[in-house]
Symmetry: C2
Amino acid sequence: MKLFTVGPVQMDPAVLEAGARPLPYFRTAEFSEQMLQMETQFLRLLNAPPESRAVFMTASGTGAMEAAVTSILNPERDKALVIDGGSFGHRFAELCELYHIPYVALELPFAADLTEELLLPYQEAGFTALLMQQSETSLGKRYDMEAAARFCRHEGLYLIVDAVSSFLCDPLDMTACGADVILTASQKALALSPGLSLLALSPRIIAERLTDQPPRCFYLSLSRALENMKRGQTPFTPALSVLQQLAYRLQQLDQLGLQSELKQRESLALYFRQQIRQLPGLLIPDYTLSNSLTPLLTGSMNAYDLFVDLKDHTGLVVTPNGGPFAHKLLRVGHMGDLKKTDYDDLIQALSQRLA
Amino acid sequence: MKLFTVGPVQMDPAVLEAGARPLPYFRTAEFSEQMLQMETQFLRLLNAPPESRAVFMTASGTGAMEAAVTSILNPERDKALVIDGGSFGHRFAELCELYHIPYVALELPFAADLTEELLLPYQEAGFTALLMQQSETSLGKRYDMEAAARFCRHEGLYLIVDAVSSFLCDPLDMTACGADVILTASQKALALSPGLSLLALSPRIIAERLTDQPPRCFYLSLSRALENMKRGQTPFTPALSVLQQLAYRLQQLDQLGLQSELKQRESLALYFRQQIRQLPGLLIPDYTLSNSLTPLLTGSMNAYDLFVDLKDHTGLVVTPNGGPFAHKLLRVGHMGDLKKTDYDDLIQALSQRLA
C-alpha cells in the first residue's frame, strides 16, 4: 500500500522506528526537558512571537479545534466570525453552536476564494474572533491568510487558525499574521501517527483568556494543559509513542530546514498537477490550492468507486470525500514520504482507468 | 530502563513492532471489519451482555471518564453517587461538578475498604447512577464490585465503572455486575502505547441515554462514537498505531486466554508482596489490593527521592505519587512485560537502599 491520503500519510520508516522504541516514564525531569525542547522547536517552525507557548494534546485535530473554542471563547464576551467553506470550517460553526458562542458563518461557495472584499461586510460589527482554516482540508482550498490577518488587525479580533493540513505545506508565520492560536495534528505533514494535536498560543491570548477562565471541558482545557506545560508536562498520560516520533521529526526539521520541507511539498504538488492537467477526464478546481493536497473532480466517474478500484488493484490509496462530494471528488495528498516516482505510478494507474 | 510504572508499562517488543507497521488508511471496509472484530474481542474479555457495544476513543482514561459523565448523565434527570477514595474517584466528583450533575461523594479514608455497610446510608435517596473505580489507581485499592453491583441492582442505578488499571488484572464480569459502562485505557494491562481509551456500553445505557441526548462535548460524545462504530468507524482520525497494537494484543489474549492473563498479574503481585513483607522499612497498606500494582509506604524515606534514586542508579522505574502521598507512597506496577526475575532485581535494589 502507498498512501496518498491526507492523514494518516505515508510514513518514513525511520519515524515508524522512532515510535517503536521502548517508552519512557513521563513524570520525570528528563521527559520534561524533552517536552520543553519540542515546544521550542515547534514554536520556531511557526515563527511564533516571544513568550508564546505551545501545548500537546492527546486528541485528533477536532479535539484541538474544540479545545480552542471551549477554552478561549465565551458566550458572554464573544462574537465569532467563522469562515465556513467546507467540512472543517463548518465544524468550527458547529462548535460555536454547541458552546452557545454567538457567531456568523461566512459561507464560501465551492469555487470561491476567501478575499478581502468578502470580509468587508463584517467590519465594525462587534466581532471579537475570527475562526478559520489556513487550508480547508476537505477541498484543498487555501485561504488568503494575509487578508484575514489584516482584517483581524484592523478590527482587533483574535485570530484562531486551524493549520491541521497546511502546517509544513503552506508558509505560515505566526508573528507576521498575528495569530493567537495555531493548531495542527500529528498525522498530516508532520507525517507521524495520528493521536496528537499541537497548539501554539500567543502571549496575548494567554494573558487575556487562559489565566482565570473556568474550564467548560476538563479534558480539553487549554488552561490546564498550559499550566502543566510550564514544567514540560501534560495533565494526563500523553500519546508517548507519537511524542517519540515528534522528537525525531522536529530534530530532522531542525537539520533540513523549514524552507526545504515547504519546497518539497510544493514541488510534489506542482509536479502532480502538471501531469494531471494533461490527462483528460479529471479536473482540478480553479480555487487557490494548498500544497498539502490536490482535489480532483472525477467528472463522469464515481469518485468513491475509483478510490476503491485504485486501492484494491494497485495498492495506491487516495482520499475519498464525505458529504456532498463523496461521489464527485477525490483528494491526492502531498504529505509524508512520497517521491515523484510515486506520483508517476499514480498517474499511470489513473490514466489506465481513464482510457 | 525497566518500567514498573502503572502506565506506560514495560511493553512487549512484539507489541512495539506491531505499532511500527506501516499504517492503513482507515476509511475502508477492511479497517471497519478489523474494528468490529476488535470490538467483539474486547466485549468478550468483559463478558459483556448480548447487544452491548464498544467504542474506542483517542484520549487518555480521563477523556473516557469525561465522555461517560458528559454523554450519559444529565443535570435534570440524574443524581450520582461517587466513590471518592483517591485521585481518580475524586476526578469523577470534579467531572460531576463541572457538568452540574447533582452528586454526593462517598469519601473513603485512606485505610478503609468499600463495604456494603458504607453504601447503606445512600439507599432510597434518589440516586440514579453510581460512579466508581474498580481499582483506585492512585492507591492500588480494589473496591468490592459485588457489593457495589448489589447496591445498584437493588436501587435501580446505572453502574459506571472506571476499570482503567483493573482491566485484565482483577476479575471483571460485565454481565455479572450489571455494569452499564466499563472504561479502560491502552497503557495499563493491555500494555500498549498510551493514547487510546476503550468503553463498553450496556444495551440499557444505549437505549436509555445514548440515542437522542444532545451532546455537551463534541469530541467526547459517546453517541457520536457509537453511531460511527456501527459501521466500524470513528468520527475522527483515530490513534491508528495504538489500534494496530490492540489488534495484535487482542489476538494474543484470544489465544492465551483471559484466565492465564489474570493469573499472571496475580502471581507477579503475590510474588512481589511476599518478598516486600520480608524487607524492613517498607509497608504495604492493609486495604484490599488490586493485582495491578502494590502500594508501598516508605516510612522514614522520602518516596520521591527513592523513585529518582532507583531510576537514575539502577534503571528500575517505579511510580511516584502526586498529592498528599507524594513523599510517602510509591507504587510498583504488575502490568506489562515483567517477569519474577525483574522483581528480584527490584527487591535487591530496594534492600540495598534500606540497608
